[in-house]
Symmetry: D3
Subunit: 72 residues, 6 copies
């Protein structure tokens, strides 16, 4: 009976990326925990940049300063 | 001091249905746990169909295939 | 596809009370939203009195002062 | 590694107020727990008045009755 | 800035399985969303069988009836 | 009607520190949003080090490597 919530900043996540996250997380749980995927629910919640704070700053401010969350 | 979060797919839940959920959950907690309803908060969160995954699939895809969550 | 989280202070909630909450919430959602109960998950999370704050005070302190959350 | 979620009713919270909440919570955790702020994330979630229930009533109904959540 | 919460029933999940879930989810998000893993936090929350309800029943009752969540 | 959840790793947070967090967050919300503190609930959730992942690693492993979350 797993339930997974994925919270990410709202920065153009596509429908296809969401599908990959849902499929990937469900497969991972099925493999690692041997769970029936029909009991696994995954919810993605996108959060506006003004609403996500990191190190005391709004992400929207960080982005204006050119600071991204991209992998280097 | 109860707090309740209800997450449902966004599929036309009406204002009246939300009121019934809020009233029903609060009454249930008042009855079962003998809690003062003024200390009970209920939050409903609707989730877009692209953002809710079940069995590894987006709910939006399941709906396109004619698969609903309706009671039979 | 509903998921419900019920957070309550840890103050002797019995197994039977939990069952009544789970049954009651699931029945409510089935009735109000016409959802298949096999897609409804309910999670109860008990919170220690030191960890739940109300009006700026720990619930454990409120209880020591004789202030309960009981219905009057 | 702290993560903080702040849920409030959607009633005109400004960008500046959000920044004050994010800055204030992060500073508080840094001071009280001595945590590196680069490991602290704060997420604000605004909830529509129809979706927040208090004492069994939708907040939107309470507001129509002139009942606010303002400090007196 | 992703944050992921994984809720599972407390049924003997090992430290190694938790590590696989944390590593797997972080890698997935890094790959799909191109996020810096140093901004990804994953929290696993185990839930007692009495506290997880499915289809209106406590999971502990389902397990007593021989009903598992295992993949077939 | 604010509700705040604070999740931190379980690393010896004292009762006094929890009280400071609860008091501090409630005061902050009262000041910034002008909310009645009797409508503000704060829940602290401590998470075991094996259950909190950062950058793909369990925090328990990071601690064994001498990596802390302390402010420098």
């Amino acid at each position: 009976m797993p339930y997974v919530k994925i919270e990410v900043t709202r920065e153009g996540v596509t429908r296809k990326q969401k599908q990959e996250l849902i499929k990937g997380v469900t497969d991972l749980i099925t493999t690692v925990l041997n769970k029936d995927p029909h009991l696994t629910h995954v919810v993605i919640q996108e959060v506006n940049l003004d609403d996500w704070g990191y190190a005391g700053e709004q992400t929207s401010v960080l982005r204006e300063q050119g600071i991204t969350a991209d992998r280097h």
